[in-house]
């Protein structure tokens, strides 16, 4: 790709300079003001540290303010996008698009139901023929692997033989999701001009998908267009609060990001369309040198891939005006925090890339922004600790009225609590103005009805703000722990994502939040004894930590969420105005699964069930002549399985067996021929008992 035009570069620099001034100047002023607020005569180093940390935090929250202001500007003046949006048909009929769904130990039936809904939605547009679907599994669990295959076969059976929906599982999940997509690109990428990356919980309508393809066709310099997915399907109180915030504040914020970043935008790893050829050419991720948290594979790949595309001259756009893309969010606070732990590690790892060669400035800012998303919690806690030390010091150490000798007049301690209050309100205003902007845009844009009307919207915002104020200190404490863990070199395992209506047990909440409760009790008690006045300043944080256990449990329940919905709180546009795509999804969820030949599931079904075994064998590569040792090892596995049954095989053995077509076919016929107790390891009692009526097929797979 060629270089950017001069006007584009000037525009980007101008915006960058403007945002820098808008963030840095007020931060410096606020930092200086904080110095004035602190008691004098004070402790120079401590005061400087407090003012510096406050300055950083002030700048951090004011970025959100200016993003929202810019977003409101764009939305109110209807200048939504700089992308060329004139509809364009296929220019040469070659614009084939792959919809790529990486999976890792997901519940397969809902994933297939989402694919079915997208398929049917695309069918309604009349452009289904341009799209192929790929379910790309990285599941390293035998049961999950087999059930994914069966769910996929059921999907193909429902949609008919013409459906171009493919399933593939990688044997080795190298580089996790990014490696999975790279593997797709190597194998089949050459057949497609575009690919749309979907998460396992993503839903996109046919309308938005065809629009994305048209936008890419119309903007040949665009390498990637990211959409803004709307959160849906939340029933727990926590989920509903997050969903409401996403739907109310998200569009304004995303429009602001569009304004500031323009063609150097974000990529969030899903619900985005990518031009395959440049992605293949420029976005292979390296392995970072060294070990520990900063080395090894790049964990949060999406920001890096966007930066690599842009470095090669391709535009990366966040396009928030496109509606019809959806995702699900974590249902509970602890699920969100588990996800954040992985993200914290991935983002902090980007510290290695901030100064890497060739990246554009804004993508370096994106890396820093990601790092600050978690490091800001450490700074907030540092601010609390430093301010507590300041208060304790002033309480325990008597003031020196004559710090220098040979002076006639004492130096009286000076402390302006009213200035502190003013600074507090200013900080709150910066935090809450983006919410007000979103409300104004909702009113002006005629979207009030979609949130249940003005009264319900305002009540929801107040409730959301209160609950967020309780959750923010808890998140801060956890994020601090995550950051420290990363800095001392602890690595996090990447597990499957919790979806649906999970809930947090009291035991689990106690295990995770009791440290915070204890800390709040001790810290609060000490401060209350030494400085009751300051205790009230700390109370919002201490109280949030203190009640974290019941709050975490209560908000994870569906009951309070349903109650809030009945009261008209936290309503979202998708709930007030049903979306055809979501109806298609509900229908797909309710469809019966593929009838099975036997009642077995998972690994056992792949051995015993004549249909599932045949399907699994058909999806495996033909067995190749193996090294003598490998062949003997496989024979040994089969003998162990025959002799001692499936329970004698550990997870690794099961995967080894499942990976070899000849072994699977041989074991299938062997277990059906076995007699006596050995057969009982595998076959249902109904099959083994003489004279008993045969089980009645088909066994319909239970609906979700």
């Amino acid at each position: 790709m060629g270089k950017r035009s001069l006007s584009s570069r000037v525009g980007m620099w101008g915006r960058g300079l403007l945002l820098t001034l808008l963030v840095f100047l007020p931060s410096i002023v606020a930092s200086q003001f904080m110095l004035q607020v602190l008691p004098r005569p004070g402790y120079g180093l401590l005061n400087d540290a407090l003012a510096t940390v406050f300055g950083f935090l002030f700048g951090w929250i004011s970025i959100g303010l200016w993003i929202s202001v810019a977003g409101a500007f764009l939305l109110l003046f209807r200048r939504r996008s700089r992308l060329q949006s004139q509809p364009a048909g296929l220019q040469d009929g070659q614009a084939r698009t792959a919809l790529v769904v990486p999976m890792f130990r997901e519940e397969p039936r809902p994933v297939c139901a989402r694919v079915e809904a997208i398929y049917r939605s695309l069918l309604e547009t009349g452009r289904l023929g341009e799209f192929d679907f790929f379910l790309l599994s990285d599941s390293n669990d035998a049961d999950a692997w087999v059930e994914e295959e069966v769910a996929w076969a059921g999907l193909r059976a429902r949609l008919g033989p013409e459906a171009r929906i493919f399933y593939r599982r990688r044997r080795h999940n190298i580089k996790r999701k990014s490696g999975n997509i790279a593997d797709f690109c190597r194998r089949w990428g050459a057949q497609y001009r575009y690919m749309v990356i979907l998460d396992a919980d993503s839903l996109m309508s046919g309308g938005i998908l065809t629009r994305l393809v048209d936008l890419m066709e119309r903007n040949p310099r665009a390498g990637l267009i990211q959409t803004l997915p709307a959160a849906i399907h939340q029933n727990t109180l926590f989920g509903r609060v997050q969903q409401f915030a996403n739907r109310l504040y998200g569009p304004v914020f995303a429009a602001g990001l569009h304004f500031w970043h323009m063609s150097e935008g974000h990529y969030w790893g899903h619900n985005a369309i990518i031009r395959v050829a440049p992605f293949v050419r420029h976005c292979a991720l390296p392995r970072l040198s060294g070990n520990g948290a900063f080395g090894g594979e790049i964990m949060s790949h999406d920001f890096v891939e966007a930066a690599l595309l842009r470095r090669a001259g391709w535009e990366v756009w966040l396009e928030p005006s496109l509606e019809g893309g959806y995702e699900e969010t974590p249902p509970t606070l602890l699920d969100e925090l588990k996800r954040d732990r992985r993200w914290a590690q991935g983002n902090i790892q980007h510290a290695r890339l901030v100064f890497a060669r060739g990246f554009v400035s804004l993508h370096r800012v994106v890396f820093l922004n990601g790092i600050m998303s978690y490091v800001s919690s450490l700074l907030w806690l540092a601010f609390l600790v430093l301010s507590t030390i300041e208060v304790v010091w002033h309480t325990l150490v008597p003031p020196q009225y004559f710090p220098r000798t040979h002076v006639l007049f004492p130096v009286w301690p000076v402390w302006h609590p009213e200035w502190a209050v003013a600074l507090f309100w200013l900080t709150l205003a910066i935090l809450f103005v983006p919410k007000l902007i979103a409300i104004v845009w909702t009113v002006v844009g005629g979207r009030l009805r979609l949130f249940g009307g003005l009264g319900r919207l305002l009540a929801s915002v107040v409730a959301e703000s209160l609950l967020s104020s309780v959750l923010a200190p808890v998140r801060m404490l956890f994020h601090t722990v995550f950051v420290v863990s990363v800095l001392i070199g602890r690595k996090t395992q990447w597990g499957p994502q919790a979806r649906g209506d999970a809930s947090t047990s009291w035991r689990e909440a106690l295990r995770h939040h009791s440290g915070g409760t204890l800390l709040a009790t001790v810290w609060g008690a000490v401060v209350y004894v030494l400085s009751p006045h300051y205790f009230w300043w700390l109370l919002p944080v201490m109280a949030a930590w203190f009640i974290a256990i019941p709050v975490s449990v209560w908000m994870s329940r569906v009951g309070p969420g349903v109650m809030a919905r009945k009261l008209g709180l936290f309503l979202t546009p998708e709930e007030k105005r049903p979306v055809p795509l979501l109806r298609l999804y509900e229908e797909a969820c309710g469809a019966p699964g593929l009838p099975r030949c036997t009642a077995t599931r998972g690994f056992l079904a792949a051995i015993v069930d004549p249909g599932v075994n045949a399907l699994h064998c058909a999806l495996l590569r033909p067995s190749i002549p193996a090294h003598e040792g490998v062949a003997l090892s496989r024979q040994q596995l089969i003998l162990t399985a025959i002799k001692d049954g499936p329970h004698a095989l550990d997870a690794r053995d099961q995967l080894r067996l499942l990976s070899d077509r000849d072994s699977m076919a041989a074991l299938h016929w062997r277990v059906w021929s076995l007699k006596g107790p050995r057969a009982r390891h595998w076959l249902d009692e109904g099959i083994l008992l003489k004279g008993k009526p045969l089980p009645q097929p088909p066994f319909v797979q239970a609906s979700r």
Binding site: P161, C283, L285, V304, A307, L308, A614, A665, S673, L694
Partner: protein
């Protein structure tokens, strides 16, 4: 013990497979009747496979041959590999025409390309 004269000639091979003809028939019926129709055809296949078979392994081997023959009749072009008994089972399970199912690839043909390596931290 190996080489023990008293044990020589007394080692008995214990069959692992079902040998009882009634049980063998029931096992094959349980296997075949798990598939959807035509169930009257399955009954004749069970009789054919079990007739004179010493053990269930042999009966199931005959059943596999029967499946291959059936597939050869219905879709000659897909019955020339050793996996065709499994393919027959897949078609029977999904109630799909073998010719149609064989014409639809489970995954598209590969068109391999490599991804260029990058070194952003260099």
């Amino acid at each position: 013990m190996v080489g023990d004269e008293r044990s020589q000639g007394r080692v008995r091979m214990m069959p692992l497979d079902v040998t009882d003809p009634v049980e063998m028939r029931e096992r094959l019926r349980a296997y075949l009747f798990a598939f959807p129709d035509p169930q009257d055809l399955w009954a004749s296949w069970v009789e054919e496979a079990c007739e004179g078979a010493d053990h269930a392994g042999q009966a199931f081997a005959r059943l596999r041959s029967r499946m291959v023959q059936d597939l050869a009749k219905r879709a000659p072009h897909v019955s020339d590999n050793k996996e065709c008994a499994a393919f027959w089972r897949l078609c029977a399970w999904l109630q799909a025409d073998p010719g149609v199912l064989a014409a639809r690839p489970l995954v598209p043909p590969l068109t391999r390309q490599s991804m260029a390596s990058e070194r952003p931290d260099s």
